[in-house]
Symmetry: C2
Subunit: 368 residues, 2 copies
């Protein structure tokens, strides 16, 4: 039997496959193409579960990640990050049967892709309210100008519009997410009408909260959520999932206890969880402590406990008297991560609740 | 000539070697053993620079890291993290000429080490105010009890007391750090007197702020700071260094611009910087933008600019009109990290300003 001696990301395959199945069915039922974002799991092993669920097109957040998945046979890949012109040379190395779609929101990027001369698809990124990247939805002139520039090239194919409604992460509760979802879909629908002179436009959108909670997809044609495969504490607090849907937990050895402060020090810090936090019941939380179920499984969140701080390798878990008395140095506790994408990136491997290792892209990246 | 196309941690070897030299000389001048913490750089290459400066004993934060450095010939290594009894088996794999010193703050850990039977040195960890781990300085009874338990064993050797004054990170300005330093050193001195019945006690302490700013080391015998090799924005804001002392910067490609918000989107996010932030002039900052000096060098912090947000791969840099107009998509900007230990861990390699790659432990860790 495997035993945990270091911080380890445990993956519940059953929950993960269920999350995948549910989102795929939702996309199908709403006539949405499903182009899930693989930046959350970054794993060929988990990618296979998505393939088994019927997924054929995927989304990633870097060219390196696109290349990793292209090597595993994925051949319809969107890189949902503003095209980085300094990496233009890397586009040459992709297999010729791999159909890449890149994201652009500026003329320089398009000019660079035209000069490159490779046959590529292009999504124009639209800012639907997250105010991170993308052309403003209201800036019809700039959007049309960029569409025309893409279409006028010999090598580029205009795929459509792409938008990440990252502002849904500010929501707290399902109702707020539903409001953002409706507004987003209505706006995307209106945008299509506004741009009618450019013909019928394909729209892909993909934040996990609105895809999880929304039920009518009047403005989009494709969905590319990523986090839904695992979910996490942040998504549960947003209202995108229940705590029971969360498919990953970090197993951490207990290395010290402080009776006066009722604190447990775990081997598990910023280099394992990253440092995202959410406010829960007035406390800043870096993770939620859950009951152990056997060595590799977990149950419910334990009320009154909070991962209150992280330094490089240490985590400080504030607990109740009852929990303090139960936990011993040398035990392994399990913590639901605040942000599963970052925890997976930090930890670099998954161990399934069935005791199998599953690879993560970061652990197989070769040395420079 | 090397060119930057992805987020890359640039290392100024000259500044780094100067930071090392200065701290080594300070330790020598104050009759302090110098046992620098290698958790910041985690690099055999940079370790060599410390060796060249006369360093013989080192400190690390995990057994894995200790093993990495033992393979490079370091043979006096303190693992400054509460001993994790679940990793006891890994102690067997260290070369026999490698002298390991472990940290303990509880009886279970000591019992485990006694049962193991290996010849090992032990520091007892003392909480000098950081309230993270360690026995309280005021708890003379527990400290003596643990010393006696260690000394009564046949295989363990009591090395002394170890304390990380992490509360110095709450300081803002040199005067506050000096106050914490004086209080720390006075308390360590008093503790030695209190424990006089246990004989003369060796004390090691090691946060970068007090080691950088303090000038009298009345209570300690050894210093183990780590961050000083690079420093970072956090240390500059604490008052432990000047911005000019910072020896690392993250080079990030510019991928998008928003004229309305005067924002530059860079390829550089939470997976490159981690997510530590500090408040500077009322703004939450995830990094400080500096002028470029050639392709790999950098100059001063540019006033009025702020890395205001990080998502997984994106960073949003708020800039002045002048900077906005100067920076183009396809440029590379440089950002001083808030927390250099975490940025180094995330980025996994260094490129020196002279254009050489230097390895980081995370990039050579083998697959499971």
């Amino acid at each position: 039997m495997l035993s945990i001696s270091k911080p380890t990301l445990i993956l519940d395959e059953e929950k993960c496959r269920y999350n995948i199945k549910r989102m795929k069915e939702k996309a199908d039922a709403n006539n949405q193409d499903f182009r899930p974002h693989f930046k959350t799991h970054q794993s060929n092993g988990i990618g296979l579960w998505l393939k088994e669920a019927g997924v054929q097109a995927i989304t990633v957040s870097s060219l390196d990640m696109a290349f990793y998945f292209s090597q595993a046979g994925w051949n319809d890949i969107t890189v949902a990050f503003p095209f980085n012109v300094l990496e233009a040379g890397e586009l040459q190395k992709f297999p010729s049967n791999c159909h890449l779609t890149l994201l652009v929101d500026n003329e320089q990027a398009v000019s660079c892709l035209i000069a490159l001369g490779l046959p590529l698809s292009v999504f124009i990124e639209i800012d639907s309210g997250a105010h991170r990247t993308g052309l403003s939805m209201s800036d019809k002139g700039s959007i049309l100008k960029l569409i025309i520039k893409v279409r006028s090239s010999e090598n580029l194919s205009f795929k459509g519009l792409y938008s990440h409604a990252g502002h849904s992460y500010q929501c707290r509760g399902e109702d707020e997410v539903k409001t953002v979802h409706k507004y987003l879909q209505d706006n995307l629908k209106a945008l299509k009408h506004t741009l009618v002179e450019a013909g019928e436009i394909y729209v892909c959108t993909g934040d996990t909260p609105t895809c999880s909670v929304g039920s009518h997809f009047a403005g989009s044609d494709a969905l590319s959520p990523g986090n839904f495969v695992f979910y996490d504490v942040m998504q549960a607090e947003i209202g995108a999932c229940s705590y029971n849907d969360i498919a990953v937990a970090v197993a951490c050895p207990v290395v010290s206890k402080n009776a006066e402060r009722k604190e447990i020090c775990i081997y598990g810090g910023a280099i394992h969880f990253s440092k995202d936090s959410v406010e829960i019941d007035g406390n800043q939380s870096f993770g939620q402590y859950v009951e152990n179920v056997g060595e590799l499984g977990w149950g419910n969140v334990v009320p009154g406990c909070n991962l209150k701080g992280l330094s490089q390798e240490h985590g400080i878990l504030q607990v109740t008297d009852a929990v303090f008395n139960k936990i011993k140095v040398g035990d392994v506790v399990k913590i639901l991560p605040i942000h599963s994408c970052l925890a997976a990136q930090c930890l670099g491997h998954y161990m399934t609740t069935g005791g199998m290792w599953v690879e993560h892209f970061v652990s197989i990246k070769s040395q420079r």
